[in-house]
């Protein structure tokens, strides 16, 4: 019986990262600075034994004159969809230089970011803290920055789970149904829920969550763009090709400045989505043909937008759109042939 309990304990220990467990290995610079990259002024950083909050070593940033530099490292093995609290400690001798910590995920265009406050103390170790939820690949970038003249030492960078994915999900679900929550909070909750659902390979549910956002915060352009783009992506993954086209069409119509590069890019995306939608309505060749004709118009519009901005600077994008036009015309003829619509 004792053996069974022990085995169960071991299994539980490996089943998931405990909330108190440090998820960031070697945050104390004891193994050197190999995991960290010294940014902007590559000579400002060094391994130091002058000060250490724990162990013997710390990472130092030294500015002989006013500068802004940093240590950056990528942490790839965190659990996706989890909210982490990341702590680091900074030490400075004078207030001529300040230290801070910032983080971001690496999945553009909608990467998350989070930052700590800047240091306020001198002559003692000071905690820098911020919370960040990982995206689907479990990667975050941590940057320890220094700004000003003088030296800063960093030590004991650690990450602990603040909310597991399930805990986050439950909280978010509560939030979206809460009477007291603001539309802004609900919209963010739907975005986060969509992300978790997508992560859990439930794209239809993700698409559903994302689709709620524009109605809640129609004037929050950044959130709506993020939601519509993610809605299109999730719909496609869920094989709801028509919904993908709807999302992108709304993105172009309501949230994209007319005549901008962004518009041309979104139109291009919409063209691709329509092509895929047409592909999947076959054998209804008539419907497919109609969708492809729309795609043809959309690609043509996108090319016009680029041409209107700067045909030389955007030559490659225009060439690619010309290619899409060639392909779509071929597909239209093929649909006509297969559907006997010639």
């Amino acid at each position: 019986m004792k053996q069974l309990i022990l085995a169960t304990a071991v299994l539980l220990a490996f089943a998931g990262r405990g909330s108190a467990e440090n998820a960031i290995s070697d945050g104390g610079f004891e193994d050197g600075t190999g995991k960290w990259q010294n940014l902007w002024s590559p000579t400002s950083g060094s391994l130091s034994s002058e000060y250490a909050r724990s162990g013997k070593m710390s990472g130092k940033l030294e500015h002989p004159e006013t500068a802004s530099t940093g240590w950056l490292r990528m942490t790839t093995d965190l659990d996706p969809g989890v909210l982490y609290r990341v702590n680091a400690y900074a030490y400075r001798q004078t207030n001529s230089i300040s230290a801070s910590m910032s983080m971001h995920t690496d999945t553009p265009p909608y990467s998350r970011s989070a930052s700590s406050e800047k240091t306020v103390k001198t002559g003692e170790w000071e905690l820098l803290t911020a919370d960040i939820a990982t995206r689907h690949n479990g990667t975050i970038w941590i940057q320890l920055g220094a700004e000003g003249i003088g030296s800063v030492w960093f030590d004991d960078v650690s990450g602990t789970v603040l909310k597991t994915r399930d805990e986050r999900k439950n909280l978010l679900l509560t939030s979206v149904t809460s009477q007291s929550a603001s539309n802004e909070d609900k919209a963010q909750a739907f975005l986060d829920l969509g992300e978790i659902q997508y992560l859990e390979r439930n794209p239809a549910s993700a698409a559903n969550f994302y689709s709620k956002v524009p109605d809640l915060v129609p004037d929050d352009e950044a959130r709506c763009r993020q939601a519509l783009d993610a809605w299109a992506k999730a719909s496609r993954r869920a094989k709801d090709y028509a919904a993908a086209s709807v999302a992108l069409r709304k993105l172009v119509k309501d949230y994209t400045p007319s005549g901008s590069v962004e518009e041309a890019k979104h139109l291009t995306k919409l063209g691709w989505a329509l092509g895929e939608e047409a592909d999947h309505v076959v054998p209804d060749y008539k419907a497919a043909l109609k969708i492809l004709e729309k795609a043809l118009q959309i690609y043509s519009n996108a090319a016009s937008v680029y041409r209107g901005i700067d045909p030389v600077a955007h030559k490659h994008a225009i060439d690619l759109l010309e290619d899409r036009l060639v392909v779509t015309r071929y597909d239209i003829n093929e649909m006509k042939r297969l559907g006997g619509l010639e």
């Binding site: 690949n137 094989k239 691709w272 895929e276 060439d319 290619d323 899409r324 392909v327």
Partner: protein, 1052 residues
């Protein structure tokens, strides 16, 4: 210093090559320190004193082969006498040598050289074997070569003994004379450069050269930081600093190094025109300069050639020369043939030529190379774009193809970490990693399999093809209309899929074929997980169930491989469709690779039949990689490949191509005739090179160039009839069993194990028919199930494994009046490797008693293979009393219906060996041994020669049957082994003849050709109009003519 100047003037190039003439003689060669005399009688002036390796004869020595006479004769390169080896009958390589022991003492590098002359079809070479160091061999001397210096370099030779070996093979005379040994100074390859024009420029140089595999190319920038001022020589560059250009030219490819010395503006940008000098020295010193190449050209590269250090002092000096010499020499050689101009209008004869931008930029190179190719008869070049295109057009080369690999290499969506980890948990993955360490290594390397998301696949491939097309458009839009086809894969293996979508697809695939989870040994559909084939090709044979009684496991194996092909074909199909969208006029092809390596089969996830059925590609192609010096069942296998491709192409009326690999003058003509005769219209002759710019090329193979040039002229004369011509519909089909490919190897070692009896048996059965001028289609199991057996009168089956439902169809077909030929253990197992007795009553046999050879190796080209198979008894024909050996397998059997069975031949104990059994309205011809292996076992293989020694008696086992059941062939030929193919259209009839009887010409070949209408002329491409007789009653034409190598007859 006494120097000779070689000055060459071209329209746009001035090239001056200066080197010391004294370096050509031993006494003053700067690399030679002194002459050594470890050997007495080095010029054979005192007879054969000191030589061993044979027995003393009446007048010299009889070599170790017990036959070849070696004696000193009054003919010499130096002095009065030399050694002559007289090979009066064919001697195989490695059988003949004379030896001479000598000692050198402690030395630095030493050169051992001599001169060799050959007369007749004989090759000669020298080698030195040193104690504990193995043998170093000199370059070989080819047949009919005048006195030529060859030698080897021994670096720090051992103080012990050495043995000089003089070797020859072939038939003719080899002469050896003037053996010399020199101590050498230390030397290596140093160069320096000077730019005269443009003056007042600063530059750096970039060297791009050939080196050796696996890195292949050497490239390095010199003077990158400081540059060099025009008008003065640069500092010395030690080109061979890393040892890249050391070693023997015989053992390291390439032996002769080519390099482009590119002059780059220090400020950036290109020089449009340069006048420059390149000096080679054997040390970094002005006194050690060997020569200077001075060039003025419209470009910015000076191309040079130089020798490896192991080439010896003479070649080291001699081979430093302008690279354009190589192009010019080949051009001059072609011109020396004085062949009439040729311009094929329809057949595509293609090769590849490279080098612009890396080895040269001087347009004179392209002009020379394309002129040479035009003379050969090439009318298409792969990747034909500016600036090649415009110059090629002047030579009538206006057709092209492109390759598209980007989609497969870069565009396939990959699994994410979580999906990959889940896939790795599958027991089949676990097993694969267990049986194959390389597989485990790959899985842990960060590599990821492809996710079978068809939306992503289509989207990514469309994007990849679009980007590829745009690159071409931006580079040279006018070149695009010249592209006739796009090559989308070379010797491919299936796409490596994994993940849930792949599994789901497998379940759907199984459902489509009526397979349940229980059929494949799983409880539910969730338990059915597809095998990720391809990531670990090597363990594939180890993944095959060893326990055949586990039927479910065998079924799973079969269907998982079928699914692999199906999935892979779909991916390549997407690529083809995307290409067609941009270039609707093109066709697409995959060079599958030869089935004897398991390529083009389910064993690589690339069954060419399924690819054709899915219209994955729109042209069928395979490269033969067959040489007369010993490839598999012989070079005629390229006819087998062409027939296979033609049969697959027929499914959707697709284009038939052939990738015909280089050979010598006669054999390349035979191979070309074979494929043209089978209906091939587009021929890829692999990469011409040139040698200086690429690995794997045939530019220096003048024999091949000559053969192609001769053939294209013959082809041109018949082109108006041959090009539209198609083979007359074959009445004989050979069953291509995909099931047999899965189970054929009895003791597979690796994924491309190729020792099996059934495979080589099929090759030789095919040959038996081909040698009797029988047109053959292949037909696979799926096509049979589509009802296509009805297209044929006779069907050949030689495959142990055949789908059970197909066996039923075959039985029904025979019952309905079909004629089936089969042998040994054909059809005794089904597609799952399970015993199957369905065909036994059809064949008319029962109570089988089997004897099988213990040797599982049937490879015809290795000593331990087919030749080593001991006969398992004899078979005697009842009508003529002729006998032959049973090979590999004998099946003794009882007759199930004696009254309906005719015994044609018997084993030595009098039991039936060959029978014909009437079944329903049809008939089955059965041979109780491996008929093909029995046919192939008697053959003779000689280095560089076609396979001969096929016995008419053995062929009877295979080829008599169609005539016995009254099948009429389009033509009959008096000489078996002459390949004679008929192509016809409303323009007339073409007959392509290739002499596979032997190397000698045939005095007379008589042909009886069935024609649909009266014929008024017969023209031979070799002999012009020839007399003929038209037989009105039989509607046939009889002609008689001599045949050298190949000929093409046109009947109008």
């Amino acid at each position: 210093m006494n120097r000779i100047k070689y000055i060459r003037l071209f329209a746009s190039t001035l090239c001056i090559h200066v080197f010391s003439s004294i370096y050509l003689t031993a006494g003053q060669n700067p690399l030679i320190e002194r002459e050594l005399t470890p050997l007495t009688n080095p010029g054979f002036e005192d007879g054969l004193v000191g030589w061993s390796g044979g027995k003393a004869g009446d007048d010299g020595m009889i070599a170790g082969d017990g036959r070849t006479e070696c004696k000193v004769v009054e003919m010499a390169a130096d002095g009065k006498k030399s050694l002559c080896m007289h090979l009066d009958a064919w001697v195989d390589p490695g059988k003949l040598h004379l030896d001479r022991e000598f000692k050198l003492g402690e030395q630095g590098s030493v050169y051992v050289g001599l001169r060799i002359k050959t007369q007749g079809d004989v090759h000669a070479v020298m080698g030195v074997t040193s104690e504990g160091r193995g043998t170093v061999v000199s370059p070989g001397i080819k047949p009919d070569t005048d006195w030529q210096e060859v030698g080897i370099v021994l670096n720090d030779p051992a103080a012990g003994g050495h043995s000089l070996k003089l070797r020859a093979f072939g038939k003719g005379k080899a002469y050896f004379d003037d053996i010399r040994v020199y101590a050498l100074k230390p030397y290596s390859q140093y160069i320096r450069v000077k730019l005269d024009e443009p003056a007042n420029e600063r530059y750096r140089i970039y060297v791009w050269g050939r080196m050796a595999r696996p890195r292949e190319y050497f490239h390095k920038t010199y003077f990158e930081k400081e540059g060099v001022a025009a008008g003065e020589y640069s500092p010395w560059i030690h080109l061979n600093e890393g040892g890249e250009f050391s070693g023997s030219p015989v053992s390291i490819y390439p032996g002769l190094i080519s390099a482009g010395i590119r002059f780059q503006k220090f400020s950036g940008g290109k020089f449009e025109k340069i006048k420059a000098h390149v000096q080679l020295a054997y040390g970094p010193d002005e006194d050690k300069i060997i020569g200077t190449i001075s060039e003025e050209n419209e470009g910015h590269i000076v191309g040079i050639l130089f020798a490896r250090t192991g080439a010896g002092p003479f070649e080291f000096v001699k081979q430093f020369r302008p690279m354009i010499d190589d192009a010019r020499e080949r051009n001059t050689l072609m011109k020396s043939l004085n062949l009439p101009p040729v311009k094929l209008k329809h057949f595509m004869i293609e090769t590849a030529s490279h080098g612009h931008g890396s080895f040269y930029t001087n347009p004179r190179f392209i002009e020379l190379e394309h002129n040479t190719l035009g003379m050969i008869g090439i009318n298409a070049l792969s990747h034909l774009s500016s600036p090649y295109r415009q110059i090629a057009a002047k030579e009538g080369i206006t057709r092209s193809h492109e390759a598209h690999r980007e989609s497969i290499l870069y565009e396939l969506p990959k699994l994410d970490d979580e999906e990959f980890e889940a896939a790795l948990r599958d027991p089949m993955y676990v097993k694969a990693m267990k049986v194959q360490p390389e597989c485990k290594k790959l899985m842990e390397s960060g590599w990821k399999p492809t996710r079978m998301d068809w939306d992503d696949l289509k989207r990514n491939i469309s994007r990849g093809v679009g980007a590829w097309y745009l690159r071409m458009q931006n580079h040279d839009a006018d070149a695009i209309p010249l592209i006739e086809f796009v090559d989308i894969g070379d010797e491919i293996s299936g796409v490596v899929f994994a993940g849930e979508q792949f599994n789901e697809g497998f379940r759907e695939f199984l459902k489509t074929h009526g397979i349940t989870p229980q059929d494949v040994g799983r409880k539910t559909w969730e338990d059915v997980v597809a095998v990720t084939w391809g990531a670990y090709n090597n363990p594939l044979p180890h993944m095959r169930p060893k326990d055949r009684s586990d039927v479910a496991a065998c079924r799973f194996h079969y269907w998982s491989l079928k699914y692999w092909t199906d999935s892979t074909a779909k991916v390549y199909g997407i690529i083809s469709r995307e290409l067609e969208k941009r270039m609707p006029w093109i066709h697409t092809r995959i060079n599958f690779g030869q089935p004897w390596y398991n390529a083009a089969t389910d064993m690589r996830g690339t069954d060419c039949w399924e690819f054709a059925r899915q219209r994955t590609i729109t042209a069928l192609c395979n490269e033969d990689w067959l040489r007369a010096s010993g490839s598999f069942s012989g070079i005629q296998l390229n006819a087998y490949l062409a027939d296979l491709d033609r049969s697959c192409a027929a499914i959707h009326d697709m284009v038939v191509q052939a990738y015909v690999m280089p050979e010598d003058e006669d054999h390349i003509q035979r191979k070309l005739a074979s494929v043209i005769g089978k209906g091939v219209k587009e021929i890829d002759l692999f990469s011409y090179g040139p040698y200086y710019s690429s690995f794997d090329n045939w530019s220096q193979n003048f024999s091949q160039a000559k053969g192609v040039a001769k053939f294209t002229r013959k082809l041109e004369k018949a082109e108006d009839v041959l090009y539209p011509g198609q083979p007359r519909k074959a009445k004989v089909a050979f069953i291509w069993s995909a099931s047999d490919e899965l189970w054929r190897e009895k003791a597979p070692v690796q994924f491309d194990s190729h020792m099996a009896d059934s495979m080589y048996n099929r090759h030789y059965v095919y040959f038996g028919l081909l040698h009797k001028q029988t047109p053959i289609d292949f037909i696979d199991e799926v096509e049979i199930q589509k009802g296509r057996l009805s297209e044929y009168e006779v069907v050949y089956l030689s495959a142990r494994n055949l789908r059970r439902d197909v066996q039923k169809t075959v039985a029904e077909w025979v019952k309905g009046g079909g004629y089936l030929w089969t042998d040994a253990l054909s059809g005794v197992e089904d597609e799952y490797g399970q015993p199957c007795e369905l065909l036994l009553p059809v064949i008319g046999i029962k109570d089988l008693k089997l004897t099988e050879s213990r040797n599982v190796d049937y490879r015809p080209h290795v000593i331990s293979g087919l030749k080593a198979q001991e006969p398992l008894g004899s078979i005697t024909f009842s009508d003529t009393g002729e006998s032959l050996n049973a090979i590999g397998t004998t099946v003794k059997f009882g007759l199930s219906e004696p009254a309906k069975t005719q015994i044609l031949a018997t084993f030595a104990d009098g039991s039936p060996a060959v029978i014909e059994h009437e079944y329903g309205n049809g008939k089955v011809h059965y041979v109780g041994t491996l008929a093909g292996c029995s046919y192939g076992r008697t053959t003779r293989r000689r280095h560089g020669k076609i396979v001969t020694g096929y016995r008419d008696t053995n062929r009877r086992l295979i080829a008599d049957f169609p005539a016995r059941v009254g099948v009429k062939m389009p033509l009959t030929c008096s000489a078996p082994m002459v390949e004679a193919d008929l192509l016809e259209s409303d323009k007339g009839i073409g007959v392509v003849l290739a002499n596979y009887v032997g190397e000698e010409s045939l005095e007379e070949v008589r042909l009886d050709i069935i024609v649909p209408r009266e014929i008024y002329s017969v023209t031979s491409s070799e002999r012009g109009a020839i007399p003929f007789q038209y037989n009105k009653g039989r509607k046939s034409v009889e002609v008689s003519l001599p045949l050298d190598i190949v000929d093409i007859l046109v009947l109008k």
